[in-house]
Symmetry: C3
Subunit: 138 residues, 3 copies
């Protein structure tokens, strides 16, 4: 069979909230990365921050953040309600800048949802740094 | 020629060792990421931590870790016996959390092996954070 | 239509400058990652550090760095003259090692240029750590 009509899916988005700190909030929130660079297949929703797989397949995801040390940072990638991988840093009086990220390849069924949740009481930088990317490998 | 029968290869795995610290050990070890998310083509061996290319091609790899500051962390991606790229952090009394990662695209021959080695006397976090991912681009 | 003749594009390169610190310099510079692992399509120029898209499409980029704390580090990925995403860390007396990275997927036209610029007065490690990778998804 030829690759005719193969569905292409790729998205890439960044938090762009107009200031340095985004958070802390008093409860966990899904990060709604609102500056969209790419959304082939229109499967990423920048209002909710949720990617919904339009077709079954293997998807590659990465997410990165930057923050300061005044509050902790804890981001976790979920598949539906399942915790998959995370990145975090602690509050620190001495280290004024933190970076982190992670990546994973997941086998998704059509309709599976993937998103990044930020834990309550933490924060990330809201401009230029904090990103969420994914694409269909096969 | 059509893409008929194109071999798909992708793996993604995480250290899941049931506690925070994995290490330090008194010698270098290959990290055997034991929680396997994806293993299309069955080319990643979670007992050894070694990925063996089933076909020649260009492969994309990423690896990420998290650790505390009580010990250093030094991870290096190898292709067979060749050092390729690394990520590391020093012991630190003041900064209690460290993140790092790296990525590379390598041209592999069939049978080439790729893995991540952690240097002696260092450690990484053994749950939710420390990952190794790869897939065949072409 | 079959995938016959599909152009494959992928590059991966690392700074290899023979010492730990690369910089600081008194002005912004484009990082010319000079140790080339992969350059399918010959679209990455290791003399200038600039990737020029040979065909239109969706491209996936990652970049990672390591540095010490004696100077800040600030790296930003550009598309032509447009700032896209960045990673950075501050000067720090207490935290002697910094890691960072970011990723993005961009829709490029043929001839669009992508590169990483390091801000004046900052530095990164010039061996084994600091990488720039990209490939054509579709």
């Amino acid at each position: 069979m030829c690759e005719t009509g193969k569905t292409k899916v790729a998205f890439s988005a960044m938090l762009q909230k107009g200031g340095e700190a985004y958070g802390p909030f008093n409860k966990d929130i899904i990060l709604a990365y609102n500056k969209v660079f790419t959304n082939i297949g229109d499967a990423y929703d920048s209002c909710t921050g949720i990617f919904t797989a339009p077709v079954a397949g293997a998807y590659h995801f990465t997410f990165f953040y930057h923050s300061g040390g005044e509050h902790p940072s804890k981001l976790r990638l979920f598949k539906n309600c399942e915790r998959i991988v995370m990145t975090s840093d602690l509050k620190s009086g001495s280290d004024k800048a933190d970076n982190g990220g992670n990546g994973v390849i997941l086998l998704l069924r059509q309709g599976d949802q993937v998103y990044v949740r930020m834990a309550a009481k933490g924060y990330v930088w809201g401009d230029d740094y904090t990103t969420f990317n994914g694409f269909l490998i096969s």
